[in-house]
């Protein structure tokens, strides 16, 4: 028994030690940068899902066959935007040299740049002027280009062309058109559907309406008269005009798109994916997309940046150049409906692939980005609370914005 015990003890100890060693080795080893055969390996971090992931994989394949000396590994991180950023930050905080190239939402760039995690793309020869101006600004938080837009999403107002013969010129006209449209079609339940849940989508909708009414996300003047008027418009749409259901304060993009695609609403705020999502449905062929009356729109771009610690910056820059080329952008637009970020990509070929991109381009023309600040996430959280209170009729628009303004100035001062 003694022998048995000590033998099994030794075996178990050995097994534990071996397992631990294997696990530690596995945990510590990363992808190798350069193989013996002269091929450079770089890592691209992406959060793509479904068609978007497929499109990225195809673009990478095309890049690799054009550059046989570069091998690109795609590191698929979480598809949830918040978790994706956490995973990316963990790698960057740890000082990892990979991923060499990563995508990040436009609102995250200033914060990543402040931490010194983004490579100076101007030094590699970036040409920011060739991109949609509203989208490229987010990549230049301090003037230097540290990220380039991969695709430039834009939020505007969808409407039913069969019920709204002429797009309204003022917010008041929009209310009237919503009521008239609802009276004309018995299938219509709502006049205007919008994202009112407590999340980033409420901020993009607020920016869309506010910029149309002369305001916007000026962090020093959030409680401006124009912004108060914009928030009153959204509040009254629910509680005075009755064109929006009270339930919008629980709605995200998905619920709003369902309401529009199923033919239940005359107007809705949303992003261009609605065109694809409504294909072959009851509203197919009756979809219009325009800026909010007065020229309002919100840009939500996905940007590409290079890790400041990357040991393969030149190969990484080649990949960024390829992903932001006209060829790659047209392929992606066709496969996913992601609006190109390159001005030159808005050409006849694109409009032939999908005619609605002409309307997307018109909305993008005047659309604005959200503020480029390292504290954006914190500021947005305060705005979300304020907007949510108003959409639930728990606070007056002016009081809510004034409280948010106070908290935002505290955040900026700290």
């Amino acid at each position: 028994m003694r022998h048995n015990i000590s033998r099994s003890a030794r075996r178990i100890t050995l097994f534990t030690a071996a397992t631990t060693a294997v696990l530690l080795t596995a945990a510590c080893s990363g992808p190798t940068d350069e193989a013996d055969d002269g091929v450079t390996t770089i890592v691209l971090a992406d959060a793509g899902l479904g068609t978007e992931a497929d499109a990225t994989a195809k673009a990478v394949e095309a890049f690799e066959s054009a550059n046989p000396d570069i091998d690109v590994k795609i590191e698929s991180l979480s598809t949830d935007g918040t978790q994706y950023m956490q995973q990316l930050r963990q790698r960057l905080v740890a000082g990892s040299t990979t991923p060499d190239v990563f995508k990040a939402a436009d609102i995250e760039i200033a914060s990543l740049a402040e931490s010194g995690w983004l490579y100076d793309l101007d030094s590699l020869g970036a040409d920011p002027d060739s991109f949609v101006p509203g989208a490229v600004k987010a990549g230049q938080p301090d003037g230097t280009t540290v990220a380039l837009p991969w695709f430039a999403n834009v939020e505007g107002v969808f409407y039913r062309t069969d019920l709204v013969p002429e797009f309204p010129a003022t917010p008041a006209d929009l209310v009237a058109a919503a009521k008239a449209g609802a009276a004309a079609d018995p299938a219509i339940e709502y006049g205007l559907a919008f994202e009112g849940a407590k999340y980033e989508g409420a901020v993009t909708v607020f920016n869309l309406v506010a910029t149309g009414m002369g305001g916007g996300l000026d962090l020093d003047n959030i409680a401006s008269d124009e912004n108060v008027a914009a928030l009153e418009f959204l509040h009254d749409a629910i509680y005075t005009e009755g064109i929006s259901p009270e339930a919008v304060n629980q709605w995200h993009e998905g619920e709003v798109q369902e309401a529009f695609s199923s033919g239940q609403t005359v107007f809705s705020t949303n992003w261009p994916f609605v065109f694809g999502a409504s294909a072959d449905g009851p509203v197919d062929g009756k979809i219009g997309f325009a800026p909010f009356p007065g020229g309002g729109g919100t840009i939500g771009s996905e940007m590409l940046g290079i890790n400041a610690k990357s040991e393969q910056a030149e190969a990484a820059w080649k990949l960024v150049q390829y992903l932001t080329s006209v060829e790659a952008q047209l392929a992606r637009a066709e496969a996913t409906g992601n609006p190109p970020s390159l001005l030159a990509a808005y050409n006849d070929e694109l409009f032939e692939i999908a005619p609605y991109f002409a309307q997307v381009a018109a909305v993008a023309e005047n659309a604005t980005s959200r503020p480029s600040t390292p504290k954006y996430t914190e500021i947005s959280a305060e705005l979300q609370t304020a907007l949510s209170s108003v959409f639930a009729n728990l606070a007056e628009p002016r009081a809510a914005l004034e409280e948010a303004a106070e908290k935002i100035s505290e955040i900026n001062g700290s």
């Binding site: 931490s115 849940a197 009270e246 914190e378």
Partner: protein, 328 residues
């Protein structure tokens, strides 16, 4: 392994442990000691990984948070972690958002724990009675408890949906008031929805704990009570409740802590909204860590929550003191 013990030589008699043959008995003591040492080493080796894991997942984060709470640790400013003394704590306790959320959380804790334990006792009493299919019902009652909280919270969010949710449909079908309410959009209605989703999961847990307590109460005590002239109400309050105290205490401590630390139900159902009306202390803690990336403030919030939790657990224990004679 039942013969392996670290308690003392007697625990492993050589004859039973299949030890050395009798002719070597002169060397028994040193041999036994070697055997003991070997057994102890094996025991330590087997326990060590678990101890390491426990240290890594409980002690390390606690100590790390304590350190963070006295420093400025902002994730987006790597490399700059100056000592700030109790600044993080004074800022936290002076922040009306925190004190408001603390009040909110405590009110919810008191109300939900009282109601959930009351409901749990009722369910347990029903399950304690003999009826056909009792085994099936007892098993079925536990199902909600086995469903992950986020899943059940998302299910309930769907059920409270004003357009196609089950709750408003049933209220409407029964001609009850409330069928036109957007539950998650109003301050107190959102709390009602949170309470329902939370209780659906936790009442069965309380019921099973209390049921276990009920099953160890011998029926003779009730017979004696009946002979002494106690009616059912009296025997419930004078016999059942005092004898259930150990089970109730366990349920109370669990529920008070779980209610005070409620996060996933709220995060999945309301994200703290509408406005900030359902933001609890753990929600603010999440916000400090993951929205503001401020691990100093997050650490201070965590440590404060730990201290309050310990105080609450102590209070809960005091509230139902278990005297020796209450236990059987």
């Amino acid at each position: 392994m039942s013969t392996v013990s670290t308690r003392g030589p007697r625990a492993v008699p050589p004859s039973r442990a299949g030890g050395p043959p009798p002719r070597r008995r002169t060397h028994q003591t040193p041999r036994r000691r070697t055997q003991e040492d070997s057994a102890r080493r094996l025991g330590n080796a087997l326990v060590a990984p678990v101890l390491l894991v426990l240290l890594a997942i409980t002690a390390y984060p606690l100590v790390n948070n304590l350190w963070n709470s006295f420093h400025q640790v902002i994730l987006t400013k790597p490399g700059e972690t100056p000592w700030v003394g109790i600044d993080n704590y004074t800022r936290l306790l002076g922040d009306p958002d925190f004190t408001d959320s603390l009040t909110r959380t405590l009110v919810y804790t008191v109300i939900s724990v009282v109601l959930q334990i009351g409901l749990g006792v009722v369910v347990a009493l029903v399950l304690h009675h003999e009826f056909r299919g009792r085994g099936f019902v007892r098993a079925a009652v536990l199902i909600p408890w086995a469903v992950p909280t986020v899943v059940s919270a998302l299910l309930w969010r769907q059920m409270f949906d004003p357009r196609n949710g089950f709750v408003n449909y049933v209220l409407g079908a029964l001609n009850l008031p409330g069928s036109d309410i957007t539950w998650l959009a109003g301050e107190w209605t959102a709390w009602v929805a949170i309470f329902v989703a939370d209780s659906w999961k936790t009442v069965p847990f309380v019921a099973i704990l209390v049921l276990a307590g009920l099953q160890v109460i011998p029926s003779e005590i009730y017979e004696a009570g009946t002979i002494d002239g106690a009616n059912r109400w009296q025997s419930f309050w004078r016999l059942t409740v005092p004898l259930l105290k150990p089970a109730l205490l366990t349920a109370l401590v669990f529920r008070v802590l779980q209610s005070f630390l409620i996060f996933d139900v709220i995060f999945a159902m309301t994200v703290g909204g509408p406005g900030d009306t359902t933001e609890t202390v753990t929600y603010l803690n999440w916000e400090a860590f993951l929205v503001r990336s401020d691990f100093g403030a997050g650490g201070a919030t965590s440590i404060t929550i730990v201290v309050i939790s310990l105080a609450l657990a102590g209070l809960a224990t005091l509230a139902i003191r278990v005297r020796k004679e209450d236990t059987l």
